[in-house]
Each structure stands twice: as structure tokens, then as C-alpha cells.
Amino acid sequence: MKVINITKEFDSKFIEQVAKESGENPYLCYQCGNCTAGCPFTEFFDYPVSQIMRLLQQGQKETILRSKAIWLCATCETCTTRCPCQIDVAQIMDTLRVIARRENYVSEKEIKLFFDTFLESLKKHGRVFELGILLAYNLKSGKIFTDVDLGPKVLLKGKIHLLPTKIKGQEKVESIFRKLAERVSGNE
């Protein structure tokens, strides 16, 4: 394992940024490990939650933003609920994901793609068109056969609409996306 030169590689700006955007103070964490213990995804993570928190306290921006863990978090809120220091850990994970996306660190491409596809559908129709998401996702990910086994089950039961529903207020929803995008570019 690589030696970290804490004097030089301590990114305090990153800690501040995360603290500001999440509204949480990472220094409250005393590494009890309750989040790691309760997290249903620990076994799939490259770094367990408590280590993400520790890496954050140590200003290890690169390691965190490159980690898979921040993408695999499903925001089940177990960590937040059980944290004895009352840190909204899930909020921090969310913030890390937002920052990672903003700074083009994407270690879990499928998840990002799924999210993007979802939001694209939302923007386009105002509501979510599930079959469309699946098809678009399959096309873009190249995994054409994701969940094809389930398709017939769902379709036969009449659960998924074959055509998207577009609501009247779709433009209004789209305008939310647009205005927020303008805000971001306006700020920079």
C-alpha cells in the first residue's frame, strides 16, 4: 500500500466543500463503525462507509471520488439512522456522488447511465416511462439483454405502458432542469 504524505496530500478544501454542500460536519465522526456494520452494501463496496468517512477526514479526495462505494450507496439511510454522532452519512455519500459527477469521476458507469437515462425520461415526458428507460439503458450500456427474462412477465401482466405518457406540464418540468442548468453555468 502506498504511503500517503499527509502534509502534502491533505486536501482541506475538499473537506470544506463536502461539509458545505452536505451541511454535515465530517469531523464529528469518531470511527465507531456502526455505519459499516449496518450498511447492506458493505460487501459490495471497495471502501466501507466508515473508511469513506475516514478518508474524508484525511482529505483524500482522489481516493474517495474514484471509489465505487459512493456510487453503490442506495441511500437506504441505515447509516444516518444509526450514527451515534448524528451525522447524516447518506447525505455525505450523496454529496460525494454529486461532486464526483461534476468533476467527471465515474467509477460505476452503469449506475450513472441508469440515473441519466431515468432523468432524461423524466425531462422528456414529465413522468417516468419505465419501458423506455429499460430500452434506452440497454442500448446505451450495450447490455441489450439486461432483464429480458423479466420483460414478458411484466408485459404480459400489463404492468408497463408500451407508450410514454406525456403530461401537460412537461415543459414546466423541463424548465426546472433548464433553469437549474443556467444557474450552474451562470455561477461559473
Binding site: C32, G33, G38, T42, P48, T78, R82, P84, C85
Partner: protein, 654 residues
Amino acid sequence: MRVGVFICHCGNNIAGTVDVQKVAEEMRKIPGVAYSTTYVYTCSEPGQNEIIEAIKKYKLDRVVVAACSPRMHELTFRKAVEKASLNRYFLEMANIREHISWVGDDKELNTQKAIDVVRMAVAKVMNNKPLFSSSFKLTKRVLVIGGGVAGMQAALDCADGGLDVVLVEKSPSIGGMMARLDKTFPTIDCSICILGPKMVDVAQNERIKLYAYSEIEDVKGYIGNYEVTIRKKATYVDWNKCTGCGLCMEKCPSKNAYDYFNFGIAPTRAINIPFPQAIPKKAKIDPNYCRYFLKGKCGVCAKICPTKAIDYDMKDELVKEDVGAIIVATGYSLMGVENFPEYGGGKYKDVITGIQYERILNASGPTGGHIKRPSDGKEPETVVFISCCGSRDKSVGIPYCSNFCCMYIAKQAILTKDHLPKSQSYVFYMDIRAPGKGYDEFTRRAQEEYGVRYIRGRVSKIYPRGEKLIVRGADTLLGIQVEVEADLVVLANAVISNPDAAKLAEKLRISYDTFGFYVESHPKLRPVETNTSGVFLAGACQGPKDIPASVSQGSAAASKVLALFSKDVLESDPQVSYVNPNVCVGCMKCVKTCPFGAIKEEELRDGRKVAKVIETVCAGCGICTSTCPCGAIQLQHFTDNQILAEVYAFASGK
């Protein structure tokens, strides 16, 4: 008026950033200032002599010392002016070190600030009046509240010192938490074997008057002269007749009473003696479970009692005791197991607390000292201990460490191995806190000799699988989740204050912190005193504490009482409030707001009602003075005019 002003250089501490000469010069310009000088170390002996000489030489009648904080040296200089035959309250200090020279770099601004502050002190001292303390007699008896190990130690030490002691214990027997423990760390002494003889000493000591199953109803009075009302709760058994034979308990048909002594690990009878070594060893009926009280008929115990001690009509009784000092040793409580839903607390019978496990380990406990788990009575093979359950957990409002859990976990894990050699214990911990003598070695021994597996991390959830409990936690050193298949889980539940701690504090007029623990007068230098003179603290009522610390405090509190009672009269602090009866309009708002009950209504000869301060009770806060609309009640040494003089002097600096 001839005021003398003495500006201290404090070496370079003050003189380095304050132009002390200029300050002295400015003071000379104030009318009434007869002398103003500087000295390098005013608190030194020559410095003090300088003051004494100057008082004599310049006929000074007031003194201002501008130096460090009055919290540091006020008493020093008061004694100095007294040596020069000046009343000690003719001294004022101006704090030009902590508040000026040490916190500001700009010498010019510092000097201006010092001039203002010293001028304010001069203005105040000109309004000072001589104050004299009065003396009063005291009752040389002491009340000890709480019969746990700390209270017992205090009671015994006081009695040894020749004092009469009134010992009040809330539960039916003395002994407290220690009487419930099986062994003590780090020596593995049998707890009741070392405590039992002490309990007997208390019972047999002629100087100790024990009120068991009694509580403090009311406290009146002040240091040296307290009048305490004690509520003797109804036991429904005449203790003068009860011999403690235990026959009633054997025959009692109500077998589902909650066992307070055993923390509900198993039921007891509605009439019971809490444990074999109880002192006093007397029976008591719990009317919440007694058939006679619930259904109006039964009477088995009354029939069977050989001495006819049962009295269903017994009522609470109030008795009064006069004492001169009070030692509070009310101990602590523990967070209930139901506070840990993620661990199935209250839901899974085999998730228990440390103190409950202690009772299971104990030979006089419900299992006779055989380790059997509550659900099915089987011997556990795997026992998991979880530290910091509630403690150090801000989300449940307990940020503090419970002090002794790390140690008793190690002890219980060792004992588990002793009792059940085939068993395996696991300890989930965040930090091992073992700073006492022989403590760290003890926790190491648990790991090295007894093979207790310590896992660094918290437990997130416990759920059943078949007869096992799955304990899912983290090993943060490895950064992985771990699961233990446990037969029994012991939670080191947080130490909390007694639920009625605040109520007692209000009666005693002592302070308590956010968590309900009593606050000592000074965390380092006055650890067993409270801010109410005459009331002392011992043991865990002040914060979580282990046995040695509790015993030390018990002895310390006793020595404080003995020292206090070594005098025949006490002197009162004259910095108390005083009512000018000619000004008082008798609205009695001061009476209502005084936190100490130190003001009473008095009728003058002309029939007019006015307020009057009981000097010995007044603590000198001055709430009354800021409450009084007409300025009739004035806190001596901090009168309206003294403070206003400072304000006016402040304003004149513009």
C-alpha cells in the same frame, strides 16, 4: 475619602503592553485619590507591605489594586488591607492582566482601557461600605442520602469521627449497586464479601440512624442548621416485629412481582426481602403486585407471619431530623434495555444488560450463579458483549463515557470463561478505557489468558436465527462486516442519573448538569463540595464512577464535614442582601424570586409588612436586588449604587 491605587507590573506581564506609569498618573487626577503608584509584583510580600505601609503613611481609607483577576488574588489583597486595620471590603481590584494586557497588543489602546477600568474600580470602591460577618451555631449531625458504597463509607467515617449520622436509603436495603455485583475488577474479589461487613458495620454502629425505604421530602435551613423531613414509605410490614425469617416470601402466592434488586431478570414475590444479605433484613410488600391490594383478599402472609408483623393499613410516615451538613450519595441509574431497538432490546430475552448479567453470575442471584440464558435456561456457548450502548452516543443524548463498562465487560468475560470453560466471549468495543491501577493489565489478561475475542467496531443489528442471535457488527480495523452467532448478548448500557435526581437537587438547592448529575463546586479543587455550603457530594451522583473512586469521595466528603464541624460556630459571608425596612414597600417580589428561600416576610411594629433576609441562607446572587422596584433590598458589595458608579465612571471616560 482617601483612595490608594496600586498598579501592578506583574513583571512584564502587564507592564509589557500597558503603560502602568501613565495609568498611575491618570488616577492621581481623580478627586479622592490620595495616592497612586506602581509596583513590579504587588502580590509578593514586599508588594503587599508596600500597600500596608502606604495605608498607614497616607491615611488611606480605600484601596484599589490593578493587577490580575480578582478570582486569583482578591483574597490575598483583602487580607493585606486587613493587616493595615482597614475593613477588607474597602478593597477593589481592577483586572488589567487577563482582561487587558494579555488580550490586546496595542499599548496605547491597552493603556486607555486600563485607565478606564481602574477609574471604574476607584468609583466603585468609593461606594464600598465596611462589612462584617456574623457567627452562628451549628448542629453537629450529618445527613447522608443514599446507602450505596459511597454513602456507607461517608456515614462510617463520620461516625468514626464522633458525629451522629442520619442515613437515608430509598430502597429497602442499603448496599446500592455494589451489593448487586458478583465480583469486582481487577482483583476478582467477591463483591458482597467485601461489602457485607461494611453493611453490618453500618447497621451496628450506634451513631448511625438508618432510615431504609425512605426518601427526602423536604429540606429547610442552611449550613449548620438544616431541618430535614424524611418520608418513611409504607412497607406494610412492621419492621419492629419482622425478624426477616422469610416465611412470608416463601408462601406468598403472588409470584410475578418485578424484582428491582435483580433488575427484572426473574420475577420475585409481592412480599419479599430483596437479597439474603439485606440490611435491614426485613420484608416489604409491593402493593402493585400483592393480591390483597389488587383484589382485596388473600392475607396469606398475615396468617403465616409468626410475629404478626403484617399491617396492610400502614401509611407513609413523615419524620423530621435536624442536621448541620448533608452528604449526597444517591448514585446512578442505568439506561433500560428497551432503548436499544436495533439490538432487539426488550424483544429478545437473551439480550440483557451488564447489571442483569451480573445477577446471573452471582451465587445469590436468580440462577444461583449458574450461567443460564433467560429464554430457555440453556448454558450459552457464545456470549457477545457490546460496549458503549447509549454511552458516547449523541443521538440518544448521552455524549459522555460511562466510565467503568470497559472494565466490567473484561471481568464478566473472564468470569464467563471461569464458569463455562467451553464458552467463547466476544467484545465489540470502540476504545478500551482502562486507566486505573492494574486496569489495563486486566483487559489484556482477558484477551491473552482467557481468549476473549475483542473486535473493534460497533454492532449495528441483532436478529434471531433459530435459537441463535445473529450479531452483525463491523471490524473497523479490517474494514469489513462481521457476524457472530451468539447465545447471549450483554449490553454495556449507559450510566444515567437517577430519574428523580433533579427533584432532589431542587430540594437541596444544588446544581445539576444537563444529564442530571450533580455539579461540584470546582472540577479540580473542590470536587466534593457543592455551591450550596454545607452540602457535599460523594459517588456516582456526580458522574459515572467506579468503586474505588466512590469510596474515596465518600471519605473525602466525610472529612469535609468533620473539618466543618471542628468549629463551634460558623462565620457567614457578609456579601449578602440587606433590606432597608424604611424603603421596602412590602410587595414581596424578592421573596418569590429568591432561589434559596432566603427572604421572608416580617411584620414591623407599626404593622407594616416588609421583606427580611435570612443572612445565613442568602447566597449572594442579587436576583432580589434586580427584582426590587424601589431599591430597598441591596446585595452588599454589589449594590445598585456600586454598579451604577462603575457605569457612570465608564461613561465619564468618553
